[in-house]
Symmetry: C2
Subunit: 129 residues, 2 copies
Amino acid sequence: MKSNQAENNLPEPTKAELEILQVLWEFGPSTVRFVNDKLNELREVNYTSTLKQMQILAEKGILKRDESQMKHIYIPVEAEEKTKDQLLNRFVNTLYKGSASKLMMQLLGNEKTSKKEIEEIKRLLDSME
Amino acid sequence: MKSNQAENNLPEPTKAELEILQVLWEFGPSTVRFVNDKLNELREVNYTSTLKQMQILAEKGILKRDESQMKHIYIPVEAEEKTKDQLLNRFVNTLYKGSASKLMMQLLGNEKTSKKEIEEIKRLLDSME
DNA sequence: TGTATCGTACGAAATTTGTCGTACCTTTAA
DNA sequence: TTAAAGGTACGACAAATTTCGTACGATACA
């Protein structure tokens, strides 16, 4: 049985794990209680479920934690940018054989991408050089 | 227990399902045997595993099949573009709160995105209006 | 016509992912 | 000094996904 981590060393965050990461990215290092409360604004989750997920994330090395207090504080090991980069790479590789411009075309042809967004992108590119 | 298909009506293709779709997109309508051979160029999979997956895909309505011959021919129901669009939307929504331009920035800042790709993208945008 | 080959059907095991119950420790405050 | 509140640890269960074994029908051809 082969691993499917062809080009990445980091284990891939699962969907539930991503949810947690997003809270930490948005609000910074947090306790399980805080994260769980945030998640429960969207859907019902048991406190211990969130706890378990965060412990798993810590085991995997995706989060680290400060145990100096009883209320452990969890912190993403990698910066938001870096993790998203990896996910994006994986996505481009999987669906577009690694071609960023192909993805772009898809994005631009996508009706859900607004004119405003497209303008924004153009401005971005012009200001790059 | 809630479904997680917030904004999509189509069931989300899983990882193994995507592999199969990619073969069909690349080579057109195919038999299980053909798809399985292709998959085995990458990793070891049992014929009946692939068969089962493709049957499940057919059940879900992602593939349809021509049963007029003994060797059933499987065909994606939706065009490649459309399916990828949905996946892309989901991806942008999940990671970039729906902002295509944020995704772009990430893509452009990504070292794996070559200068050539960036040029390609610019040309694309210029020719758009 | 029988046997080897190649196909589908399908239940069930294996794996991965997600959820939760329960035990138990620490802090707080009456 | 004890009861309540709130924390972590962790095994077990549940659900979703993936893989496979076995049964059995079609076809080919010696």
